[in-house]
Structures are given as structure tokens and as C-alpha cells.
């Protein structure tokens, strides 16, 4: 009896619950739609902003302005017919590869042929017969001028140590440079990568990694 009495109440509750459920679904849909609309509005506003910025950039960088800059400062002109190439191959032929310095090239000293009878003007045709005989260059030692700086001797000066510290580094620097210049060509000339290694070289090569390996290990352990 009591169940039947509550029946209508339960029904009402169920209907109300269902209605509420539907309403919640509808509310959820509405809020999702609202969010979507917000995004769409954002997109539209952003598009408007992009458009505005594009217009501004376009106006500031208008062709007439670029032309004015070109005429006044950049001064670019239309390319001529010779500046066009047929393709990659022709373009490549225009570029010359940078020459690699040959390591074992013989050293040739620049020499100036000095003619014996330089005082007499000669016809150019005469050179053919007399040329080889006259074209003897002077010995190298004659042509090389040694630049040096000699300290003037001043015996009357009572305090000689004053200029010495100034001079010393200059002298040592020059010495160092001379020794380096002397040793370097010798090194490159003798270092043949294909020649069998000497024992001294082997030692040096083998010792270098030994010295460094513990260091790396230490750092790895840390």
C-alpha cells in the first residue's frame, strides 16, 4: 500500500531527475558552443589584426618607397644580358676553385735579370741572340738585404742599463721569429705522411694518449 502511495512521488522524482539530466546535457552543449564561438571570435579578431598589420607593412614597404631607397642609397640596376647564365653548369664554370698550396713545391727565389750593358739602349729584337748570355742573375746573397737594427754605441753615457730592458724583448722576439721561420719549412718538407715512422715519432705518438687518458677517466668518474 505504501509503495503504491509513493509511486507517484517516485515517478515525479524520476521525471524531474530526467529533466534535470537533459537540462544538464543541454547546458553542457550550450557552454561548449559558447567556447567554440569564443574561439571563432578570436580567430576573426586575429584575422582582422593580421589584415591590419599586413596593410601597415604593405604601406610602409610600398614599391614606390623601395624604389626611392634604391635610387638614393642602394642603387641597384637591372641585370644586363651577360649576367644571366644558362644553368648550374655554366655558373660552375665561372667560379674558379681556390688553388691548394703544394706542400713539396720547390722553393724558387724571385730574381731580377740584370743585363751587363744596361747603360746602352738596345732594340728588343737583339735580345733573341744575346738574351741567354746576358740574363744571368746576381747571386742570391747579393740581392738579399738584411734588415737590422744596431744600437748606437754611446760611450759617454754613464747609465747604460736604462735602454736595455726595452731592447731585450725586441731582440728575443726577433730571435724567436727567426728560429720559427727556420724550423717550419724544414718540418713540412720532412714530414712525409706515407714514409715509415721513425722510432722517436712512434714514442712521441704513443706517449701522448697515455698522458691524457687518466685525465679523461678522472673527469668521467667525477
Amino acid at each position: 500500500m505504501s509503495a503504491r502511495g509513493f509511486g507517484s512521488v517516485l515517478w515525479a522524482g524520476a521525471v524531474a531527475g530526467a529533466a534535470l539530466g537533459f537540462y544538464l546535457v543541454s547546458l553542457r552543449v550550450a557552454s561548449e558552443r559558447a567556447a567554440l564561438e569564443d574561439v571563432e571570435t578570436d580567430i576573426a579578431m586575429t584575422q582582422r589584426d593580421i589584415r591590419l598589420l599586413q596593410t601597415e607593412i604593405g604601406t610602409r614597404g610600398r614599391l614606390a618607397q623601395l624604389e626611392r631607397w634604391n635610387v638614393r642609397f642602394i642603387r641597384l640596376s637591372a641585370p644586363s644580358a651577360d649576367q644571366f647564365v644558362d644553368g648550374g653548369f655554366q655558373l660552375a664554370t665561372l667560379a674558379r676553385p681556390t688553388p691548394k698550396p703544394a706542400i713539396e713545391a720547390p722553393v724558387i727565389l724571385a730574381s731580377v735579370p740584370v743585363e751587363a750593358d744596361a747603360g746602352q739602349p738596345r732594340l728588343t729584337g737583339d735580345a733573341d741572340e744575346a738574351g741567354p748570355a746576358i740574363r744571368t742573375s746576381r747571386p742570391v746573397s747579393e740581392m738579399v738585404h738584411v734588415a737590422s737594427y744596431s744600437v748606437p754605441q754611446r760611450p759617454e753615457l754613464t747609465a747604460p742599463p736604462a735602454p736595455k730592458p726595452v731592447m731585450k724583448p725586441a731582440v728575443t722576439g726577433a730571435k724567436l721569429a727567426r728560429t720559427q721561420a727556420a724550423t717550419k719549412p724544414v718540418k713540412t718538407a720532412t714530414a712525409d705522411p706515407l714514409a715509415p715512422l721513425s722510432s722517436a715519432n712512434l714514442k712521441a705518438k704513443g706517449s701522448a694518449p697515455k698522458g691524457t687518458s687518466p685525465k679523461t677517466k678522472d673527469s668521467a668518474a667525477d
Binding site: 543541454s26 564561438e37 571570435t41 582582422r48 589584415r51 604593405g58 604601406t59 610600398r62 644580358a81 644571366f84
Partner: protein, 568 residues
């Protein structure tokens, strides 16, 4: 005590009262019921409405109208999509004199300081007037708007309204045109396509023109330089694709800024390329030769004519700038631009055939293009006799627009088919105009060598741009003044096509009243002013248009070179 007990007998008046009360109660119940039903109905309506809104309605925060963003007026873009005209929101400063609360004198002084186009007295007068609204400034810059806003005066209204902006300013101003302050097209394409641009359904899509901004800029600059150098009063130029009829560039100088079209002079607003008609002189001669070839009169450029120092016809005489004084071939006539020789060729063609050819090329009517600013051509009309035929043969006595001339050259060199010029890009949405044949293909082919020769050896030498195979013809025409022709006021033009071995583009440059300079040795003929500008322009625009310079290519010059007799 014989009085009856009142409790036992109901008094009749009392009974009546009970009956009345019942009636009143019934009425009251009825009224209450009615009232309740009304309230219940109202509540039911509200509840139903709420349910409806909950189920189908919009939420409170909805912002309508912004999701479908489309400008008030469609954009105009060039063939590469670069904006030429756009509608943006601009600030407008208005004034409501009745809403002013501050000191009007102070305000007037401040306004005069910020917007110096009017003085303080005028502003004060406006502030004190009875009118409800004034526009103080339309299209005002943001910093001015900020300054006005900082005044904090409620009577000053700041509003946004759509405004037409031309980002490229003067570029192609006569093609694009301009709008009035209410956004209605007043000239150019803005006027011709006003309906289309305002159509709500098409507003979202831009109107694509055939104009190429870069080509347009290059031509405008080179033409402007020539105009400045030779102190010309005006200039016009057209670049056309000869196969489709697309106008790639069209300009009229002096320039006009469509952003402030009202400030331009009438001279600047005038479109010389389509509205102005000019006697374009010797640039007509190739047409006369082509007509004669099509009519079978000229079979080879070696055909000889007698070219005396002056030709007397019907009471007037025709002169040459470089008289031959003897026999000359057709090739010589073109090379030296001989009026006498061309007049004889035109005479052989005759007025009927000449008229028919000119009609087929569209030279007797307004030029065919979308613009509404189109000039009526001037022709001899009914009075088209021998001497008129001769003068028309070398471009005098007939006045056409520079665009007519460009269309004519396109017709002559695209294989002989006339096609109307168009300012809309030819693509899937817009087919090229319907063409019809004017010249035979063979004539079109042979003419290439003839015009190339003019640039290689004739009057057009200065138009040469190495490798671009320019072919063309100079034209110098004396301007008609009251009582005859002026000797000092001339219209010079150069009409040409490139690359001549495979023609693709036609270009016409025209200078209005150029003056001689020291560099031109006192000459004012087209070979000295229009031709060099042509060569420079081609050197700039041809690479943009995909024409590669090639010094090893030439048209078939064997058609014409054997018949050139140069005086050594």
C-alpha cells in the same frame, strides 16, 4: 412572554442575505479562478520560454556578427595577390557642440593646436553653434585620436568607420581609381566594379586585377624619370600580354594619390592611357605596311617606292625628316620612318580597306576595356578621301588612346588576332576576350623582322636593350593647335614588342610635349626621349616577366636585312 423564539424561525431578510452571499462567493471564486489561470498562464509561458531557451537558445555571452568577418567593400589585389585597395577601420573625430561641458574657449585653443587646419576662432564658433554634429577629421592618425581622447571632453566623439586605403599609394592609381568619402566608386576599377565590390556575397573575395605591381612600378618609375628629364607635361604607358589581352601595367602621369584623390589636380585625375586621345604619328606605319601585305600589295620588303623630297597631294604637301630624294625600299621607309613612302603605301591600300582594317582593330570606337573612362577616338569620319588615307597611314588625322595602340601592336604580333584588352586576371574564373582575325599569320610573322630592324638600324636604336630582342617603332606627332600643327609641341611615343623572335609582350610609352635637352642635341623626336625610356623599362620588366635575355637569338632577319640601303 409569547414572543416566538427567534432561533426557530429564520427571518426572511436573513435568508435573502445568505443567498446573496453565495452568489457573491461564486463570483469571487470565478474571479479568483480567472486570476489564477492568468497567472498560471503567464508562469507557464515564462517556464516554456525558459525551457526553450535552455534547449535551443543562445547563451548570454554570445557576440553576434563577428564570426563571419568580411570587409565592407571587397579588396582589390594585383595578379600576384598584393593588395592594391583595402577597407580598414579608420578613426573619425566628431563634435557634438551640445554635449560640451568644459570651457569652450580653452577647448577651441587646444583643438586648434592639435588640428591646425582650422584656427581657434573657427573652432570656438563651431563649439557655440546650434548644429548637433560636426566632422572634425575623418581618417585621423592614431596619435591624434589618443591626444583628442586625452582631452576627456564628452562632446568630442571618437568613432570607427570603414575607410578605403590604397597601400601602394600612387601605384596604378588610374587603374584602381578611388572612392568618395561614403565609399562609392568614383573612378577606375572602383567605379567599373562598384556593384561587384559592394555585393555582400562577393565581398569576402578580392577582385584580382591583371596588373603586376612590380612591372607597374618599374614602368611608372622609368616613365616618370623620362618625363622629368624632358620636362614633359604628361606621360602614359601600357604593358600588355599580347596573347591574352591582359594589361600588366597601365599608367598615366602626372600621378594621383587615390588616398587623397580630392587633392589631385584635374590634370592628375585624367587618365591619359584610356581617356586621352592623341595623334600617335609614325607608330601607325607598321599597320599600314601590314595592311598592304595582307592586301597583296607588298610581297617583299624589297618593293621599291619613289621617295622624292616632298609629295604634293590634293593641295597639300607631305615632308620627311630624312628625305631620301630617290628610290627607297619598304625596309628603308620603315628604317627612316618616311612619311612620303608610307603615304604612297596607304594610298595603294585605299580608304575602304584601311577603314575596314582599322575597324577590325577597334580603332574607330572607344577602346575595349572594363574602365568607364574611355575616350572617343577622332577619325576623318565621312571625309575619308585620298589625302586623309595618306595621313592616317602615318598616324596623323586619327587620334586614338595609347591603349588602342598597344592593342593594335598586340594584334599585329600575336599572329594577327584582335583581342580586347582586359584588366582582370585571365584564369579559371575569367576567360580571355573573344578574338577575331585581322591580319594573316604570315604578315604577323614577317612584321617581326621589320620592326626588329627599326631598333637595330633605324630610328629606334636607343630603345635597344641587349639580349631582349626589342622590336618597335618611334612616333613623333606635332600637336594640333588652333590654326594648324605646332612645331614645338609634340607627342612622342614608342610602341614595341619583345622578345621579337617569340613575341609575348607589347608596350607603349608616350610623352606629352617633351622638351629638347643638351643630351638630345636639341631634338625632341621619339628616338631621343621615348625610345631610351622604352629600352630601360624593358631591361627592368623583362626578367620579371620571365623573358631571358639572349644575345644569340634574333628573329628571321633574312626577310628584311637585304633590302636595307644604308647611306655610308
Amino acid at each position: 412572554m409569547n414572543a416566538p423564539t427567534p432561533a426557530l424561525v429564520a427571518r426572511p431578510e436573513r435568508l435573502r442575505l445568505v443567498g446573496q452571499r453565495r452568489q457573491i462567493l461564486a463570483v469571487m471564486h470565478q474571479r479568483l479562478m480567472f486570476g489564477m489561470l492568468v497567472y498560471a498562464g503567464i508562469i507557464a509561458i515564462i517556464a516554456l520560454r525558459l525551457i526553450y531557451l535552455a534547449a535551443f537558445g543562445d547563451h548570454a555571452g554570445r557576440k553576434g556578427g563577428l564570426t563571419d568577418f568580411a570587409p565592407e567593400r571587397a579588396d582589390i589585389v594585383d595578379r600576384d595577390g598584393q593588395a592594391l585597395a583595402r577597407t580598414i577601420d579608420a578613426w573619425t573625430i566628431g563634435l557634438h557642440p551640445s554635449k560640451i561641458i568644459g570651457n569652450k574657449l580653452d577647448l577651441a585653443r587646444k583643438l586648434a593646436e592639435l588640428m591646425p587646419e582650422k584656427d581657434a576662432a573657427t573652432y570656438l564658433q563651431m563649439l557655440r553653434s546650434d548644429r548637433s554634429f560636426y566632422y572634425l577629421r575623418r581618417r585621423s592618425p592614431p596619435d591624434l585620436v589618443a591626444a583628442i581622447n586625452a582631452l576627456g571632453e564628452p562632446g568630442l566623439a571618437l568613432e570607427r568607420e570603414p575607410d578605403r586605403l590604397y597601400p601602394q599609394t600612387t601605384l596604378a592609381a588610374h587603374v584602381i581609381g578611388y572612392t568618395d568619402i561614403d565609399g562609392k566608386g568614383n573612378a577606375g576599377m572602383e567605379r567599373a566594379f562598384d556593384e561587384r565590390l559592394r555585393d555582400p556575397e562577393l565581398r569576402g573575395q578580392p577582385l584580382v586585377l591583371s596588373i603586376s605591381s612590380r612591372v607597374q612600378q618599374a614602368m611608372e618609375h622609368e616613365l616618370g624619370e623620362a618625363m622629368k628629364t624632358f620636362s614633359a607635361i604628361g606621360a602614359a604607358g601600357v604593358v600588355m600580354d599580347i596573347h591574352t589581352g591582359e594589361v600588366l601595367a597601365m599608367t598615366s602621369l602626372p600621378q594621383l594619390n587615390p588616398n587623397a584623390a580630392g587633392q589631385g589636380t584635374p590634370e592628375a585625375r585624367f587618365n591619359r592611357a584610356t581617356l586621352g586621345v592623341y595623334e600617335l604619328g609614325s607608330t601607325f606605319k607598321p599597320f599600314t605596311v601590314a595592311m598592304a601585305m595582307d592586301s597583296g600589295i607588298i610581297k617583299s620588303f624589297g618593293k621599291m617606292y619613289n621617295c622624292p623630297d616632298a609629295l604634293h597631294v590634293a593641295g597639300s604637301s607631305i615632308h620627311d625628316t630624312h628625305p631620301f630624294g630617290g628610290a627607297c625600299s619598304v625596309a628603308d621607309i620603315m628604317r627612316e620612318s618616311s612619311n612620303i613612302g608610307t603615304a604612297q603605301i596607304a594610298d595603294q591600300v585605299g580608304p575602304t580597306r584601311q577603314k575596314a582594317f582599322l575597324k577590325k582593330m577597334g580603332f574607330l570606337e572607344k577602346v575595349q576595356i572594363e574602365l568607364k573612362e574611355r575616350g572617343r577616338t577622332l577619325t576623318p569620319g565621312a571625309n575619308w578621301n585620298q589625302i586623309e588615307t595618306m595621313t592616317v597611314g602615318y598616324g596623323h588625322g586619327i587620334a586614338v588612346t595609347p591603349l588602342h595602340l598597344a592593342t593594335g601592336y598586340a594584334t599585329l604580333f600575336n599572329g594577327g588576332i584582335y583581342r580586347p584588352a582586359t584588366l582582370l586576371k585571365v584564369d579559371r574564373n575569367h576567360a580571355p576576350g573573344k578574338g577575331h582575325r585581322v591580319f594573316s599569320e604570315e604578315t604577323s610573322y614577317k612584321m617581326r623582322a621589320l620592326l626588329r630592324m627599326v631598333v637595330m638600324k633605324g630610328t629606334g636604336k636607343k630603345a635597344e636593350a641587349l639580349g631582349y630582342r626589342i622590336g618597335g617603332k618611334t612616333g613623333t606627332a606635332n600637336k594640333a593647335v588652333p590654326g594648324g600643327y605646332s612645331n614645338t609641341r609634340v607627342v612622342t611615343s614608342f610602341a614595341g614588342v619583345f622578345p621579337m623572335d617569340e613575341p609575348r609582350y607589347a608596350m607603349v610609352l608616350m610623352l606629352d610635349e617633351p622638351q629638347p635637352t643638351a643630351e638630345t642635341f636639341g631634338y625632341r623626336t621619339a628616338g631621343w626621349n621615348a625610345a631610351p625610356a622604352f629600352g630601360r623599362t624593358v631591361a627592368r620588366i623583362a626578367p620579371m616577366l620571365g623573358v631571358r635575355p639572349d644575345k644569340n637569338r634574333e628573329p628571321n632577319m633574312a626577310e628584311v636585312l637585304p633590302f636595307v640601303h644604308e647611306k655610308e
